[in-house]
Each structure stands twice: as structure tokens, then as C-alpha cells.
């Protein structure tokens, strides 16, 4: 009779799951293109080149990210800032900035290497392309707009989710207007592009206390 009782035990498990799912509690999958799952805070998604709130680019063209990259997928060429119309607060800026997303392993070492927190990772993950050339993201696609939103690789594509890109990156507000390390910005984390919103982190004083 052991087999029979095991049989009914199994039927009870699947039956209970059926009831749970039909009543709506047990469902664990989401209807992906329409529904998004909440992404974790440290999600390694598409890269973003950040700006300071005053519109200046954070990247100083130092190529440390390219050096740290284990996949050798970042290509940077720095150039001197034009004196009358500087692009970044430093001496130089990232004149050419390319990331080959096909080679990138999304390890985040470039983010760790960056001295000015210019490159960060967003929560965007939809990066499929029709050909290999399109997978190389250049300055045009990586650099955030002055309002903090991120450009899309194919803005006219019907699958492009522009709403996803509108969330300004948290780094825009959390760091100093000109890269001064002592500056404590307003601790208003509002998430990153890719619909990943999380609760604001406490500022430094609250955290250290």
C-alpha cells in the first residue's frame, strides 16, 4: 500500500499547486514582454556613460576601463578639452568610446576601475541586434542625455521601450557637481534605466552613525 499512498500524496501536491496557481497566489512566471520583474539593485546590465548634473561629462578619457576589461571589449581614445567649451571638468575627455557588447562579459571591472564614476551599469538588458556591427555601442548610445535619460540603439524600432530609458540614473544626483569627493549629494536614489527602482539609500551621516 506504500506505493498507493505515495501516489495520492503526489496527486495532492500537484492538485494543491493547481488550486494555488488558478487562484493567483502560486504563479511564479511573468508575462515578460508586458510584465517586468523587479531587478536587483546590483544588476549588471548595459553600460551608461554618466554626466554631472551641470551637463559635463564625467569621462576623462583615461582608458583605465579599457585596461581593466578582461574581455578587451572597450576602446577609448581621449582628446584634450577645447579650452573655451570644455566637455568634461578635467583636462581631457573621452573622444571615442566604444564597447563591443558581444564581447563584454558584464563583469563590472570597468565600473570599479573608473576614477570618476563615469561608467556605470544600468538595469537595461534588451540588447539584441540584427547584425554584429550594431552590437558595438559608441558614445552616441552610451552617453546619457543632459536630463539623465539614456539613448536607445534603435530609437525607431517598434520593440524599443522608451519608457524604460527615461528613468535618470542615480549617479547623476549622488555625486558632486564637479567631482569633488567631499561633496555629499542628495541621497535620492531613483533607480537606473531599465525599470529598477529601489528604496533610497541613507546619506553618509545616517549610515555612519
Amino acid at each position: 500500500m506504500g506505493v498507493l499512498s505515495e501516489f495520492f500524496k503526489g496527486l495532492r501536491v500537484t492538485g494543491r499547486v493547481l488550486v494555488d496557481t488558478v487562484t493567483g497566489d502560486g504563479l511564479v512566471t511573468t508575462k515578460y514582454p508586458e510584465e517586468f520583474r523587479h531587478k536587483p539593485q546590483r544588476f549588471h546590465g548595459r553600460h551608461v556613460l554618466n554626466r554631472y548634473p551641470d551637463g559635463m561629462e564625467k569621462c576623462i578619457g583615461c582608458e583605465l576601463c579599457a585596461g581593466a576589461c578582461p574581455a578587451r571589449c572597450i576602446y577609448v581614445r581621449g582628446a584634450d578639452n577645447p579650452p573655451d567649451e570644455p566637455v568634461s571638468p578635467g583636462e581631457r575627455f573621452g573622444y571615442v568610446y566604444e564597447i563591443n557588447m558581444l564581447r563584454c562579459i558584464f563583469c563590472g571591472l570597468c565600473v570599479e576601475a573608473c576614477p570618476t564614476e563615469a561608467i556605470t551599469m544600468s538595469s537595461l538588458f534588451e540588447m539584441s541586434t540584427w547584425n554584429r556591427e550594431d552590437a558595438i555601442y559608441t558614445r552616441d548610445e552610451l552617453l546619457m542625455r543632459p536630463d539623465g535619460s539614456v539613448p536607445h540603439m534603435f530609437p525607431d524600432d517598434p520593440l524599443a521601450r522608451h519608457k524604460e530609458l527615461e528613468t535618470a540614473d542615480g549617479w547623476l544626483r549622488a555625486t558632486a557637481p564637479s567631482g569633488v569627493a567631499a561633496y555629499e549629494g542628495v541621497p535620492g536614489w531613483q533607480g537606473t534605466p531599465g525599470r529598477a527602482n529601489w528604496d533610497p539609500e541613507p546619506d553618509q551621516e545616517t549610515r555612519d552613525a
Binding site: F7, T14, G15, V17, T21, L27, K31
Partner: protein, 367 residues
């Protein structure tokens, strides 16, 4: 028999054909949906409302796919095998009554493909032919996985057909006591299950709503029959014939396009037919409360069909439920269950019910 009768016959056969196709479309979707619900998933929900047209989309896709024919196949048998699967599957349902006989213009029209007086034998014969489809497909594909699937199918079908037949025999014997003589006609077997028990024991009077189904006196035969039809239709946990993990789909590995679709269709038609046969033999087929005079005429003509569908789908749901629950059996376990449990069990039950029927008919031997 005049021309109108011939038309009625054609109409009946067409009705059965269309019914089977429609319920197959529904059943594939239903199975995927129920399986999804039992695994905390959503299931198909893109094509049509609740994804109900998913099967139509799948069928269309298969229809337009290339029918790849490997070089090593035995061509004639390779082409024949899918037809051997589909045709018996449809023929099997032809003898199952799916509603009370209706009267149109003074003519009695039984709602079944054909009321054969050897209905049950016909069903056994057709389900045996369906085995040929699997065996021939396995052999003619000229590939080792289909061959293994075919070999498994032979052994499995033979061992479970015996248990199924023995379970049927005890039902036929029991149903012979309810009428003037023994019969293999499914229509007669259904009619003999109509009505409810008239309880004579005073304090059990409340139980007079229990229908006169063969399920109660033949419960052991019902369980054996249920296990046997799951094995007969090659469904989990007895789907060794088409085990995806070990045999890459088994006998239909080398089939693609419409030829594969025919196997798929045959499997689901078989599931429906076998469930319908089970409902007919044990759950009283189309019999049920008639609500005489309380509902309009058309509805009351349709009501037996509704009872039939409800009973059949109850068993189909059990099929899906078992599929979602049990892992596939090992080959030796399958053989042991068939030869060491089911067939002896069915034989013992056959003897027990023979003795019981004899007692009822002739009285105890000592009197």
C-alpha cells in the same frame, strides 16, 4: 433503408469526425494549460482568448513544415505508419454512443457512428492495430531510437491490452446480468446503467440518488482499466515509447511536418476515445438526470451529450493530473506492473465477479 437513412449515416460519421477534431484542438490546449497551472506557470495565452487557438497555430505551422524523409527509411511502411495511427484512432470512437438516440422526422437516429453488436471487440481490434503504427514507424525509420521505441511499444501494448481486455470481460459479464442477455454493444451497456439504485434497506433510503453505474460493483475493474488505458495511449507515466529524454521522441523521431502531426493527432484522439470508452463502460456514458419536462425540448436532447462530455473530461483531467504528477516508469517496472499486478489482479477480479454473478443468478450451491 432509403436515401435519407444513408444521409443520416453520413451525417453521423461526419459529426463524430468533427467532434473528435474539435475536442483534440481543445484537449491539447487544455493539457498545456492544466500542466502549466500545476507547475506554477501561465501556459499558452497568446493565440486567441486564453490562448485557446494555440493548437490551431501549431497545426498550421506543422502543415507548412517540410516533411523530411531520411535516406534509410523503408519508404512504403514509413508513409503508411502515420495513417495506421490516425485511422484506428478515429474508428475507435465510432462505436461509442455520445448521446441518447434522438428522433428526427419519425426516424430513430442513434448518436454514435455505428451501433455494432461487437462494439467492444471492435475497440480492442482497433487499439491493437494502432500498435502496428508505432511498431512499423519504429522499424521503417531505419534509425536506432525509433526502433527502441517500437520494441518497447510492442511489449507494452501486449501486456496492457491483456489487462484491459480482462477488465472489459468482467464489465460485459456484469452488464449481462442487468439485461436479457450478454452484449458487447456499447449502446446496450450504457442503457443498462441508466437510472438509480432503488434502496430497500430502510435506513439507507437517502442513498437512492446513486446512479446504477458499473463503477460501484466493478470498481477493481475500473482501476485496472484506467491504468491500462493510460498505458495503451502511451501517456505519462507509461510513455516509454516516446521517451524524449532517452529516445529523442521514440518512434516518431524521424517524422516531421504533417506526418508527425498525424501521430500527435492520433495520440490525443486516442486519449479522448479511451476516456469516452471508460466513461461509457463504468460511468454510465450519456445517462444522467434528465429533468423531464422542466427544460425545453432541444436542451433535453442535448443534455445526455453534456453528461457524456462531463464524464469523459473528468477522466481526461485525471490523465493530465497523473501526467503532471508521476515520473516515467522504468521498463522493468512497467513489465512487472503489467504482468505481475494488473493481469493477475484482473483475473482474480474476473473470478470473484463470476462467483458473485453466479450466486445472484442461481443462488448459493448449498440450497
Amino acid at each position: 433503408m432509403d436515401g435519407i437513412d444513408v444521409l443520416f449515416v453520413i451525417g453521423r460519421v461526419l459529426a463524430v469526425f468533427v467532434l473528435l477534431l474539435v475536442v483534440t484542438i481543445l484537449n491539447v490546449w487544455l493539457e498545456r494549460k492544466i500542466l502549466a497551472d500545476m507547475q506554477n506557470r501561465v501556459g499558452p495565452d497568446r493565440a486567441g482568448p486564453w490562448g485557446i487557438l494555440q493548437t490551431v497555430a501549431d497545426g498550421l505551422k506543422l502543415f507548412f513544415k517540410e516533411q523530411v524523409t531520411p535516406r534509410k527509411v523503408e519508404y512504403g511502411l514509413y508513409i503508411l505508419a502515420p495513417f495506421l495511427a490516425v485511422i484506428p484512432a478515429f474508428l475507435m470512437f465510432m462505436v461509442v454512443p455520445f448521446g441518447r438516440p434522438i428522433t428526427i422526422g419519425g426516424r430513430q437516429v442513434p448518436l454514435q457512428g455505428a451501433d455494432l453488436n461487437i462494439g467492444l471487440l471492435f475497440i480492442l481490434a482497433m487499439s491493437s492495430i494502432a500498435v502496428y503504427a508505432v511498431v512499423l514507424a519504429g522499424w521503417s525509420s531505419g534509425s536506432k531510437y525509433p526502433l527502441l521505441g517500437g520494441v518497447r511499444a510492442t511489449a507494452q501494448a501486449i501486456s496492457y491490452e491483456a489487462a484491459m481486455g480482462l477488465a472489459m470481460v468482467s464489465v460485459v459479464m456484469f452488464s449481462a446480468t442487468a439485461g436479457p442477455d450478454g452484449t458487447l454493444s456499447l449502446a446496450a451497456i450504457v442503457e443498462r446503467q441508466a437510472g438509480t439504485y432503488d434502496v430497500t434497506i430502510p435506513f439507507l433510503q437517502w442513498a437512492d440518488f446513486i446512479p446504477r453505474w458499473n463503477l460501484w460493483p466493478q470498481f477493481v475493474a475500473f482501476v485496472i482499466f484506467l491504468i491500462a488505458i493510460v498505458a495503451e495511449t502511451n501517456r505519462a507515466p507509461f510513455d516509454l515509447v516516446e521517451a524524449e529524454q532517452e529516445l529523442v521522441g521514440g518512434f516518431h523521431t524521424e517524422y516531421s511536418g504533417m506526418r508527425f502531426a498525424m501521430y500527435f493527432l492520433a495520440e490525443y484522439v486516442n486519449v479522448f476515445s479511451m476516456s469516452a470508452i471508460c466513461a461509457t463502460l463504468f460511468l454510465g456514458g450519456w445517462t444522467g438526470p434528465t429533468f423531464d419536462g422542466q427544460i425545453p425540448g432541444l436542451l433535453s436532447a442535448l443534455l445526455p451529450f453534456v453528461w457524456f462530455l462531463i464524464k469523459t473530461y473528468a477522466i481526461i483531467f485525471l490523465f493530465f493530473w497523473i501526467r503532471a504528477t508521476l515520473p516515467r516508469m522504468r521498463y522493468d517496472q512497467l513489465m512487472q506492473l503489467g504482468w505481475k499486478r494488473l493481469i493477475p489482479g484482473a483475473l482474480i477480479w474476473l473470478m470473484v465477479s463470476t462467483v458473485a454473478i453466479a450466486f445472484r443468478q442461481f443462488g448459493p450451491p448449498w440450497s
